[in-house]
């Protein structure tokens, strides 16, 4: 549903608030999706799969942050690098471990714990949303985070360790994106190459459309997910070809982005 987007977007929100525009969400989600399937299959435990996903994405995010912050590399280029790396690495591992670059699906794969119509990820993400509101606006960490984002150099002078804050936010966003990716793959019970299909980017837009506030992001994620569902239904009703359907999420996100900018500039 909207959960993967929400999870990734919340993580991205932290980095954005600290001043780091995280383009790598898509790649981090992909890594998470892959490792979730891999580790769940190896251990038989969904929990370990999720932890593995979060951990592996956080690791990649660490490298990303380290190169960007420590070695002063360009944020956007390294972000793109992460996305490319995720594509290549999952392809590589998939071939080496499973002997296939295609869809990975197992028999006897554990089912996701569900309550009512929603799986556990939905509840986790909702809890996290609330948690983040508290974290960002009511804790010292949140204050430092926002200060760093506002003007990192000044914050630095005032005694806040901006580097640490930004690194931490990058790590958390990595872990959450990995979780978001896990939400996608574990929900499906399989890994499909490039299954993130742009949702990492949608998460990025969701951060802006949600006015950089957790609740806003929650609403935006639901909106985007709803729009995608609607377009999926439309395939049945209007006989829209499959290829065009795949382009819909991008289109919807794009149009939302434009409308948002227009509204924002008229303010």
């Amino acid at each position: 549903m909207s959960t993967p987007i929400l999870l990734a977007a919340l993580g991205g929100l932290l980095t954005e608030l600290s001043g780091v525009l995280n383009i790598a969400l898509e790649g981090l989600m992909l890594i998470g999706a892959f490792f979730a399937i891999l580790i769940t299959q190896l251990t038989g435990s969904i929990l370990l799969g999720c932890l593995g996903a979060a951990f592996s994405s956080a690791l990649l995010a660490y490298i990303f942050g380290f190169v960007t912050l420590g070695f002063k590399a360009n944020l956007f280029i390294t972000g793109l690098g992460v996305n490319l790396f995720a594509l290549g690495f999952t392809n590589y591992l998939s071939t080496i471990i499973f002997g296939s670059k295609g869809v990975i699906k197992f028999l006897d794969f554990p089912e996701l714990f569900s309550f009512g119509n929603n799986n556990i990820f939905v509840y986790i993400s909702l809890i996290l949303t609330g948690l983040f509101v508290f974290l960002i606006y009511k804790t010292v960490f949140g204050l430092r985070l926002r200060a760093t984002g506002f003007n990192a150099s000044v914050a630095q002078i005032k005694g806040i360790n901006s580097y640490n804050i930004q690194m931490k936010s990058i790590l958390i966003s990595g872990a959450l994106s990995g979780l978001g990716g896990a939400a996608i793959s574990l929900n499906l019970g399989a890994y499909v190459p490039n299954m993130i299909a742009g949702r990492g980017w949608i998460a990025l837009v969701a951060i802006y459309l949600g006015r950089k506030h957790p609740i806003g992001i929650l609403l935006t994620s639901i909106f985007f997910a709803g729009a995608v569902y609607f377009s999926n239904d439309a395939q049945g009703i209007f006989q829209v070809p499959a290829d065009l359907l795949l382009g819909f999420p991008y289109l919807i996100t794009f149009i939302s982005m434009v409308i948002f900018s227009i509204l924002k500039s008229k303010r």
Binding site: G70, T78, G88, I165
Partner: protein
């Protein structure tokens, strides 16, 4: 001497390229049954015969177009991430126009088709540029999103209305022979487009470094506020660089169709968008260095492809190599300094 934000650091370029080569060697050694043979294919493959050599040059030509476009965009401080879509759209438009109309003359036909491709790419990129100018919509994200949507649209066009049902590929019919660009090096794909690319790179250099408008563009990229106060019409330099880079991407796509593929195949231009960024970065965003950069990149690419084909390797590690290059090439400090926040 001032360098733009992305900058031009030879050390990081050398670091990035040598790491890429190093990584390739490691990957080949680890995954191949015959590492030495694979590695030798990697290094010498592209030069081993006219076919490989010609194809490498042909690819380099396309990369030159892409890299020039991105250099101009980067210098203006504009991020065109929609390259993939712009190339594919330009190529698809070229194919569609080629197979849908009768062309009386070779020259007029080719010029028309290429122009359509350029316009297609320019419009798509220009849209993002316009949105940035008008409503401050982040062009990085918008260009990527538009590209994402366009790619699927083009996929659809090639797979459905224009599909050649007699072919087992997901492809269109062949374009009319009259529009082919003559291939002249053995059976390789090398054609006129490479030389046109070289000429365009001179034009790009003159534009960027020897003209007023290029100067304005560069200054806008270096410090937009400063340029604005200095009287430069910075708004223009959101749209113009996007139009140019989109147009060049579209040109690359069209030339690929006319000179190389001679038809539309689903996904046939994939990677060129990202490679264009890589080439521009390796060239330090300087048109003067785009030709060698494109050649180096084409060489690495061809080398890995040949090594993979001849070694029975089944995975694509070009993305991993590109990732390494992307990671390292914008590094500006070579010792770890932990007080380096962004902003």
């Amino acid at each position: 001497m001032n360098f733009n934000k992305i900058g031009n650091s030879t050390k990081s370029t050398i670091l990035a390229l040598s790491s890429a080569v190093f990584l390739t060697i490691i990957l080949l050694s680890v995954s191949s049954n015959n590492p030495l043979q694979s590695i030798s294919y990697f290094f010498s493959g592209p030069f081993s015969n006219l076919y490989n050599f010609g194809n490498m040059l042909d690819k380099a030509g396309l990369l030159i177009f892409a890299g020039l476009g991105m250099s101009i965009a980067f210098r203006a401080g504009v991020f065109n991430l929609g390259g993939e879509g712009q190339v594919y759209a330009g190529a698809t438009a070229a194919v569609i126009i080629s197979i849908s109309f009768d062309f009386p003359g070779k020259f007029t036909g080719i010029v028309t088709v290429i122009s359509i491709g350029i316009i297609m790419g320019a419009l798509i990129a220009g849209l993002s540029g316009f949105l940035r100018k008008q409503w401050d919509t982040d062009e990085l994200i918008s260009s990527f999103l538009v590209s994402g949507a366009i790619i699927h649209l083009a996929d659809y066009l090639i797979s459905s209305p224009f599909k050649d049902n007699s072919s087992f590929l997901n492809s269109t019919v062949k374009i009319p022979e009259i529009l082919f660009l003559k291939q002249f090096l053995g059976s390789s794909h090398l054609n006129l487009s490479f030389f046109i690319a070289v000429i365009i790179s001179f034009a790009a250099f003159i534009y960027l470094f020897r003209s007023t408008i290029g100067y304005e563009s560069r200054l806008s990229g270096l410090n937009r506020k400063f340029a604005d106060y200095g009287g430069i019409p910075v708004k223009r330099h959101f749209i113009i660089p996007m139009l140019i880079s989109g147009g060049l991407y579209g040109a690359a796509g069209s030339f690929a169709v006319l000179g190389n593929f001679h038809m539309g195949i689903k996904g046939f231009t994939s990677g060129l968008g990202w490679n264009g960024i890589a080439v521009a970065l390796i060239a330090g965003n300087n048109p003067a260095w785009v030709i060698p950069s494109a050649l180096i990149f084409a060489y690495l690419d061809a080398g890995t492809q040949l090594a993979m084909i001849h070694s029975d390797l089944s995975f694509e590690f070009s993305n991993l190599i590109k990732a390494v290059i992307f990671f390292l090439i914008t590094v500006r400090r070579f010792s770890i300094k932990k007080e380096n926040p962004i902003g």
